[in-house]
């Protein structure tokens, strides 16, 4: 297994650095070193690989480690490998920008067609795995709530509040800066890693393939996902869950290099893993989306009722820290209403005081979503870079 990413990080400042020092104010962890006028460099130990410096560099002087040539193309060229690909929800609404389409244009059906033309054997959608994450995370939250309420049988569930775990930049931030908070972070894998694990187990079985021949690729709006996929613990099936990650930008580049006329591609559908996915997974890539999706699940399980109103408006928006209280009738408590206090943080730079409150036992929250990038994965470090916006 390559350790290049783990040892050297994903993000690097190139020699083209103009030393403008803009990036130091963007970096949420202070990982970028260098004074104004002096070429900057990234301190790997502090970097959470979010790529926000990369997409905000005025001179395009910051790069991310690419797995396209060394891993993905090699796998596609290898006739003995069965290459499957997944794409995160935030990719489909940004990819079109690289081909002159308006931001937000949903190009998922053209994207599926392009991926098939690039040679991927099966083209799936991460939405299915996002549903799995929601189910896992929602259930884990319920168990933690039951534990806190003293319901027998849930003594081993983790403490409240529960933090989300699907943002790898946030997870590394917590590991690097607040290891004491780790028991509060959901044990659920991110959708990318869940898909990877399922692709090497259930999918291999379903398609009657040797899991060792399956090569799992993901297309992500995020540079930190490259780090996540190389983490040594993600080999639950005995194989690497996800073998390689490419960003939205890199997929666009692959499509352009292959000479594919993306805009005029016929619409195609993704291959079906099990069946359709829910709308909850679609909003995963936006701040508050994971929280909203998990709350829907928790609400339904805890109350035993189908959720009539599915729009948790209170947790939507773009403020860096938002909070809401959702009244959930709990069937196990005889219908007694439980106020579930939730918090959404977009930007790890804003999370420290919230963690400090949790560690000092001052926090009233039950569930806290943290996403590193402003607005969520939709503004991830792997998304198209718009240098024409002022």
């Amino acid at each position: 297994m390559s350790t290049a990413v783990l040892n050297n990080g994903v993000i690097h400042v190139s020699d083209q650095c103009k030393a403008c020092d803009h990036c130091t104010s963007i970096c949420p962890t202070g990982a970028i070193q260098g004074r104004l006028g002096e070429k900057h460099h990234i301190e790997i130990r502090k970097c959470i690989n979010c790529g926000q410096c990369l997409i905000n560099c005025p001179f395009g002087a910051i790069d991310d480690f690419s797995m396209v040539n060394e891993r993905i193309r090699k796998a596609l060229d290898n006739p003995h490998q069965f290459v499957v690909v997944q794409e995160a929800p935030a990719v489909r609404v940004a990819l079109g920008e690289e081909f002159g389409l308006a931001p937000g244009t949903n190009v998922k059906n053209k994207m599926y067609a392009a991926l098939r033309k690039l040679g991927f054997d099966k083209v799936y959608d991460t939405e299915f795995a996002a549903d799995l994450t929601i189910t896992e995370e929602g259930t884990e939250l319920i168990h933690r709530v039951f534990n806190a309420l003293g319901v027998p049988g849930f003594e081993h569930a983790g403490p409240l509040p529960q933090f989300t775990s699907c943002c790898p930049a946030w997870v590394k931030y917590a590991e690097d800066n607040y290891p004491q908070i780790l028991p509060h972070i959901s044990t659920a894998k991110s959708p990318q890693q869940m898909f990877g694990a399922v692709s090497k187990t259930y999918l291999a079985e379903k398609l009657s393939l040797d899991p060792g021949t399956i090569y799992s690729v993901s297309v992500m709006p995020c540079t930190a996902k490259k780090y996540e996929c190389d983490r040594p613990e993600f080999i639950a099936s005995g194989y690497k869950d996800v073998d390689a990650v490419m960003t939205t930008r890199e997929l666009a580049q692959m499509i352009k290099t292959a000479g594919i006329d993306f805009v005029n591609l016929p619409d195609e559908r993704a291959d079906q893993f099990i069946g359709s996915s829910t709308g909850a997974a679609t909003i995963f890539g936006v701040t508050g989306g994971v929280m909203e999706a998990a709350l829907r699940t928790a609400y339904e399980v805890l109350s035993g009722e189908a959720l009539g109103k599915v729009d948790f408006q209170a947790v939507r928006g773009l403020d860096p820290v938002r909070e809401a209280v959702v009244e959930v009738p709990v069937k196990a408590l005889g219908g007694k209403t439980l106020p579930v206090s939730v918090c959404i943080v977009t930007g790890t730079r804003y999370v420290a005081p919230i963690i400090e409150d949790v560690l000092a036992d001052r926090s009233n929250y039950h569930f806290i979503e943290v996403m590193n990038c402003p607005g969520g994965c939709i503004n991830g470090g792997g998304q198209p870079i718009r240098r024409d916006t002022y």
């Binding site: 403008c20 006028g37 560099c57």
Partner: protein, 220 residues
């Protein structure tokens, strides 16, 4: 041959010459460090103690580059107004002067040079370009330093581009200005006037700046 005119005329007073010196020295330091940054020339940065220190020198020299003329303008507002008025007024004589480039360009024949004011048409254009260039450099330079944290990356890149290209044009203009003022045999008498004592020969003035010379004679 025309009658010889004796004596000297004060063309640039002490404050003007001091401001010019300060601006010139600041410009040289800014240009040198700026070129070092843009082309990543370690030798230039090392003169100032490394790139970060060179940047520090560049920025504070930029403050002097801004405050020097600002102070001069505040202390000599009437004079500066007259200067702006002179360089922004183009007469038929100026256009005629420009047609022959005042006789400075070897392959353009100039049998008769039209009478000029205190500044000839070429100097007027240079003055306007220098003022506009300085303003552009200043209004892009300070945001690059002071507001680099809060500006969008696109706007910051725009500032860098404007700052650099304006500086490049200014360097070329100043090089041309230096050549004509210090090297060209027709006009190098001007050099001592601005760089040393402020005086220029009355004979030269009567020829190069005839309109102004006539005005001075009337005042006397």
């Amino acid at each position: 041959m025309s009658e010889e005119i004796k004596g000297k005329i004060l063309k640039h007073d002490t404050q003007t010459r001091t401001m010019h010196w300060i601006h010139l020295l600041a410009f040289i330091i800014l240009g040198l460090t700026g070129i070092g940054f843009y082309w990543d020339i370690a030798g230039i940065a090392n003169i100032f103690g490394g790139p970060a220190n060179a940047s520090l020198v560049h920025r504070w020299t930029g403050v002097i580059f801004t405050l020097g003329p600002t102070l001069y303008i505040l202390l000599n507002f009437d004079r500066f107004s007259r200067f702006v008025d002179t360089i922004s007024t183009f007469t038929r004589n100026d256009f005629a002067w420009l047609k022959t480039m005042g006789g400075y360009v070897p392959f353009i024949k100039a049998e008769h040079t039209p009478p000029q004011e205190k500044y000839n048409a070429g100097q007027k254009i240079l003055g306007g370009l220098i003022i506009a260039g300085c303003l552009l450099i200043i209004i892009t330079g300070f945001p690059m330093w002071l507001w680099r944290d809060m500006l969008s990356s696109a706007f910051l890149a725009l500032c860098y581009n404007i700052h650099f290209w304006t500086a490049m044009i200014m360097i070329l203009l100043v090089a041309g200005h230096f050549f004509l003022a210090a090297i060209h045999p027709k006009s190098r008498v001007e050099f001592a006037s601005m760089m040393l004592d402020g005086y220029v020969d009355a004979q030269v003035t009567a020829h190069h700046n005839a309109k102004w010379f006539t005005q001075l004679q009337k005042i006397e």
